[in-house]
Symmetry: C2
Subunit: 245 residues, 2 copies
């Protein structure tokens, strides 16, 4: 969607969301979504698994625009990839405990077997930039080894940070286990939605990317920039606008 | 101080502070301190190295009561322990980058040599409950090994989580490097302050501990309970009151 203008808002003042309660994640998600609406967002993408798992319903109910989460696209990618019907899911504590992936996967295919594991150290590891170290490999083995032993044939990276560990995780999984994330399917879902709702940008529009954060960019921005090979341009610093309950 | 009543407020809705900017840590600290004043706190202890490092001045300027941080007590413990005058300090990214320990140590003893290291993975490791694992030992070696090689004779645990890793860290340090934290010295400083200000509780008072959090207690409470061997009783859930700028 090269013609679309994307306003990306990262709540760095309050991350990580992955260990917080549903109530708090919902309040924070509504606040961040409100700030996106102020930027005249025509649709909102919840580009975070924890917020998608815990806050998609309140966001959908409260926002005047369409909302797309990353859980369903990730589940679709997993259903497309599995042959044996045994799918593993890794994510933050909040995502895994919510049961959102099991619900999404079973809504798409009631008989698939789902084995999940919360991996709370992976986000801090990635933010430390230890993407390819022996310690990282051991932590990955500690978390994911039991899923491999349990016979999964597909692993969902149920956290938007985890693709930065794709190489290290793939090393453990070998050739026989498929590794899927929600990114491509989520982008497809948004494109289809814009077409369906007649909201696509004109082909003559110059698309853009504006990155904004609620706290000063820290060293993670460097990691992200290098790992994603993405020029995020000038980063805006935004104050959080509290959500009126 | 068994006669004192302690109101402990943990900002679990927004932790960890260790990777956030000074501006954000200052705003959050003022908000939390305001909530303590509402509980009629007669003095405030900033029982967090990051908040002490970044927000002690604004807290001291803005609060109508005395404020005690943990950096100076930790620095005093280190000065008392060192023989060679080469002190290591580990802490969060924000604490280490603030330079607060160097300033405190040099204010007490201008000629000590200070070598610091930010250890952003230690807090998540502790919250995951991996206090005594081979992976934990390797991460500790990765972070602290260079300080040992550099010849420190004293190591300051510059984060209030780190004492939970004391056994694992001591294993790396051996018998020749002293391990100090601010807890005992901070408690002594508060006791002296209460006596000096004539604020001590009566010896007939029944002391108490009330623990409150800004987000639902997660699994870390179990780790803390077991590791500290502390009965925290019924935990209050408090909503954050935004700070008027």
């Amino acid at each position: 969607m090269p013609n679309e203008s994307i306003y990306y808002l990262g709540d760095t003042a309050r991350v990580p969301y992955g260990g917080k309660s549903a109530t708090t994640v919902q309040r924070y998600s509504l606040e961040i979504a409100g700030m996106l609406l102020e930027e005249n967002a025509k649709t909102v993408v919840v580009a975070c698994n924890t917020a998608s798992a815990l806050a998609l319903s309140p966001l959908t109910e409260n926002l005047p625009v369409t909302v797309t989460g990353v859980i369903l696209p990730g589940a679709q990618a997993a259903i497309a990839a599995t042959r044996t019907g045994h799918i593993g899911v890794i994510g933050t504590r909040a995502t895994i405990h919510s049961g959102a992936y099991e619900r999404a996967l079973h809504s798409l295919h009631p008989s698939v077997r789902v084995t999940t594991r919360a991996c709370p150290l992976l986000v801090p590891l990635i933010e430390e930039g230890w993407l390819q170290t022996a310690i990282t490999d051991q932590i990955i083995t500690q978390y994911i080894g039991p899923l491999v032993d349990d016979g999964i044939d597909t692993l969902v990276l149920g956290c938007t940070h985890y693709p930065l560990l794709r190489t290290a995780i793939a090393r453990l999984l070998g050739d026989t286990i498929a590794l899927v994330d929600s990114a491509q399917n989520c982008a497809n879902a948004v494109r289809d939605l814009l077409i369906r709702e007649n909201l696509s940008a004109l082909e003559t529009s110059a698309g853009s990317l504006q990155v904004a954060l609620t706290d000063r960019p820290d060293s993670f921005l460097r990691v992200a920039r290098e790992a994603l090979n993405l020029d995020v341009g000038e980063v805006q610093l935004r104050e959080i606008i509290p959500h009126a309950p």
